[in-house]
Symmetry: C2
Subunit: 351 residues, 2 copies
């Protein structure tokens, strides 16, 4: 299928860049001891998840139950659900799903652990859980140290199968590489390891320690006690991550069509914030000197003509780098895999 | 169905507020001469579109071909597509669809008009078009005056059925009411009417003049030559519009569940920017003193506890006002119609 036959806006994946990213990260984690359990929320493609597993990943991390359900229905069943469960509907869905595979939930408070325990016991199950510890992101996660150990013990008393700990240092992922980042990372991980010791001191073996994202993946080798990394953004690489993490190649764009050119000041394309996210910053054009994407309306992208530029007119195509892959993938039903200017694969997105 | 049975995040529509908005806007346009052709992009529900038509709307305005296709397949066929068509795939889809109803496209440049004309002639059709004129928004739209009249003539020469003009004053919708807004509105509409005279002077009757949104609907009565208004946001009303347009009631929230509370500083809910848009600004909580929604991550909303507040814990529900309805509706597959605390209807969203 030719690229010209695609209607726009369309989400494009550069297959060669993606494959380089896949191989590079797989080679890093093949050294061990930490293994890779990449985040599914970044691409939402069961086919790409399977390729990550074929390249050595031990399973997937999911942000939502819908994502976990999509993976299970595609035969991928070793899953860490990295968002706390709350509310009866979700807890019921999780316990249902956990019968089908090696699902691991996280808990960061006694009330959540108790609610999960009640449902699980009523169904004769003992779901695997990790205790989520706040290592400095100040979002979710229980206070490290004794409160974390206490929660591990309570979760076990609720009949949950406490398998280990999660400590996601999301506040560090986008810092530039250097001593400041290394110091902050060391502090966060020592906090996690101290909690690990306290949990084990209560007779609860810690088999899993999950931490890390694309922005800190290399530092994980300094803490061999980290058993798995959640890094996921490396595969598609958006411009947001690429600004601080240069190890991987940007692979994701939105293809748009010029729909309006009424003078020499601007072009308007058919990709707006309903097809490319501006939540974390303005996306930029892939390779168009003299043009500047200034504004995203719902269905329009407004491009200022700011200097000498390749002549573009109504009907011509233009690619825009995805600035934030998680939120942009979420706006599409499929992603087109491109090689040598042709559509080689269509990845349907689920979850 | 009880609200408690809904899983979260869920998009909720207050049916009574929506019905008041529907009736109020219908009463305004029932006076004429301008009629209402509301924008579908705001709610994406064919059922709500049908209610707008039953209340007097003459048809619908759509932002995308997918939206128009969704309406046609639900039996609503009098549609203005308010975004220029470009590229073969879209032009082909439009000409296919135009056989099934009273579809109107817009053109703002000669190249686009020619491309549509070629395809239409090859299929033995003469699609209806409006000439889109830039009345000050500086996004799309041809220069008013002679360039607009010239384009109308060229479009007719291409075999297109030129029915009138569109001049969307989107730059004025969010200005506060008052003399400055009225003056700017008057200038924009006089520009449009001057172009209208020039088009008619070339022997092309102008049957349709489409202008206006929710933020300027009342001013349209000053220009009886405006035959139809595109106002659409009035139905669901988000907090973005409500800040300047107080005639309608906010009707749209996202229901979220508290998933984490690990101290007295914050709560975290399961609604992030994948379920409620922050593209135009941060949404606010519906009715929770002492709580402040500070941040949206992909799947997390972080709420700071800033003062005395109703006791909320893990598993409790909270509603967040939608800040930008277009982009938020786009993140959901359905919208739950609520009356007296119960789910009365489920609106599936299409397009």
């Amino acid at each position: 299928m030719k690229l010209d036959d695609l209607d726009t806006p369309a989400l494009l994946l550069d297959l060669e860049a993606m494959e380089r990213n896949l191989a590079k990260m797989a080679a890093f984690f093949a050294q061990g001891p930490t293994r890779l359990r990449p985040h599914y929320k970044n691409h939402k493609s069961p086919v790409l998840a399977r390729r990550q597993i074929d390249a050595g990943a031990i399973g997937m991390t999911c942000a939502t139950l819908s994502e976990a359900e999509a993976l299970v229905s595609n035969g991928i069943t070793d899953i860490l659900l990295s968002t706390e469960l709350a509310g009866e509907p979700k807890i019921r869905r999780f316990v249902d799903l956990a019968r089908l595979g090696e699902l691991k939930a996280i808990v960061d408070n006694a009330k959540g652990a108790a609610a999960l325990g009640v449902e699980a016991r009523a169904r004769g199950q003992a779901p695997q859980v990790l205790v989520n510890i706040n290592v400095g992101q100040n979002r979710t996660g229980i206070t490290p140290g004794e409160p974390a150990a206490e929660l591990a013990q309570r979760a076990r008393a609720e009949g949950l199968n406490v398998h280990g700990l999660m400590g996601y240092e999301g506040h560090l992922g986008h810092l530039p590489d250097g001593p400041d980042k290394e110091r902050a990372y060391g502090e966060a991980m020592r906090t996690l390891m101290d909690s690990r010791s306290l949990v084990e001191a209560r007779g609860i073996p810690v088999e899993i320690v999950s931490a890390g994202g694309t922005g800190t993946y290399r530092l994980s080798s300094r803490f061999p006690q980290i058993t798995e990394s959640q890094a996921g953004s490396y595969l598609l690489m958006d411009t947001n991550y690429a600004s601080t993490c240069t190890d991987f190649d940007k692979a994701l764009t939105v293809l748009a069509t010029v729909i309006s050119k009424t003078g020499e000041e601007r072009l308007v394309v058919d990709a707006g914030l309903k097809s490319i996210s501006g939540e974390l910053g303005m996306p930029v054009l892939k390779s168009r000197d003299g043009l500047h994407l200034r504004k995203l309306n719902a269905e329009h992208g407004v491009i200022d003509i700011v200097g000498p530029h390749a002549s573009l007119d109504v009907g011509d195509r233009i690619e825009i780098w995805v600035q934030y892959s998680d939120a942009t993938v979420n706006l599409h039903d499929c992603m087109y895999g491109i090689r040598n200017g042709k559509v080689e694969e269509v990845f349907t997105l689920h979850g």
